[in-house]
């Protein structure tokens, strides 16, 4: 019985660790905090393994739990997060000074632009792009309808493309 629990946990962990980690990373913008969040989420999963009857929507459950952890972190470090965003903006300006833009730089620019999105938009974007949730699942997590999520996602992508294009001079 105990061994079965470990095997199930291991399977779920290997299949869903990356989406949970990248969602947390995009939201908190700190790899150490994202790692802590992933640990907390999977420890909670392990505690609840016996009571989970269906593992079909386990990714949804994991991301919802990760979201609670992220918002709990935001509440604790509200001021520090704003400082980090300002620092990011400075880095972005500095990185844009060079004339020749290489692929790596473009990718870094894209990452910065994603990080600069407002938290509520970044969340929808991360849940779709990094965690690969359906529009319905994202809607359930953030409390919006499928249509609104679809439309917001398109707006976010347009904004992102516009900003990146401006930076790389397309």
């Amino acid at each position: 019985m105990e061994s079965q629990k470990f095997i199930s946990f291991s399977n779920i962990y290997n299949n869903h660790k990356k989406p949970v980690y990248h969602y947390a990373l995009k939201m908190v913008q700190s790899s150490m905090t994202a790692e802590d969040i992933v640990q907390n989420v999977f420890m909670k999963l392990f505690e609840k393994m016996d009571s989970i009857k269906s593992f079909e929507s386990v990714r949804y459950w994991l991301l919802k739990t990760a979201r609670n952890e992220v918002y709990s972190y935001f509440r604790k470090t509200k001021n520090r997060k704003e400082e980090a965003l300002e620092a990011n903006e400075e880095t972005l300006i500095e990185s844009n000074l060079g004339n020749e833009i290489e692929e790596k730089e473009v990718q870094e620019m894209v990452r910065n632009e994603i990080d600069l999105l407002p938290a509520e938009l970044r969340e929808i974007f991360a849940l779709r792009e990094y965690s690969e949730l359906s529009y319905e699942e994202i809607g359930q997590i953030v409390g919006l309808s499928k249509e609104i999520i679809k439309s917001r996602l398109f707006t976010i992508r347009q904004k992102l493309i516009k900003n990146v294009a401006k930076k790389i001079g397309v």
Binding site: M1, E2, S3, F6, F9, Y13, K17, K18, P19, Y21, H22, S31, E35, V38, Q39, F42, M43, F46, V106, Q107, V110, R111, E129, Y130, F154, R157, Q158, L160, I161, V164, A165, I168, V170
Partner: protein, 149 residues
């Protein structure tokens, strides 16, 4: 369709959700429209960055998480009792236990009766022996003297 519709198609295409017929329309439009071509190019760059990032994961985190898990227990007492026994096997076992109990109960009862009978017989024998002993005539003892002094 206007450029905005084609841009929506670009995202669907990058997510592998665009139908074949719409793909043809999209690519013929991209051949004509430079704005949408640039949009497609930037969208692909963003997508590529995300795909590369998605595969990254801190290697040390796996170890940290597995170390935090409670240790695996060996086959413990509660595990033995939590093992599910098929119902028919349980019924057979129960019937055997009941039969064995009844047999033992009968055996004990029989042994108890035999013991009681033996005790009664012994008591009777003891009484007979006492009666026989008491019915014997009294023995008179006369002293005989061979002393010629």
């Amino acid at each position: 369709m206007i450029c905005k519709d084609y841009q929506l198609c670009i995202h669907e295409f990058l997510e592998n959700e665009l139908k074949k017929e719409d793909q043809k329309l999209l690519f013929s439009h991209l051949g004509e429209c430079e704005v949408c071509r640039d949009y497609f190019s930037t969208a692909s760059t963003i997508r590529q960055t995300i795909v590369e990032d998605k595969n990254l994961f801190p290697a040390s985190l796996d170890e940290e998480i597995y170390l935090q898990l409670p240790k695996k227990k060996s086959f413990a007492f509660e595990d033995f009792f939590s093992v599910k026994i098929p119902a028919y096997f349980a019924y057979v076992l129960l019937a055997m236990v009941i039969l064995l109990s009844l047999t033992l109960f009968n055996e004990v009862n029989q042994y108890k009766n035999e013991l009681h009978q033996t005790a009664l017989q012994l008591k009777e024998q003891k009484r007979t022996v006492e009666l026989l002993f008491n019915s014997l005539p009294a023995v008179e003892v006369h002293p005989v003297s061979n002393n010629n002094l």
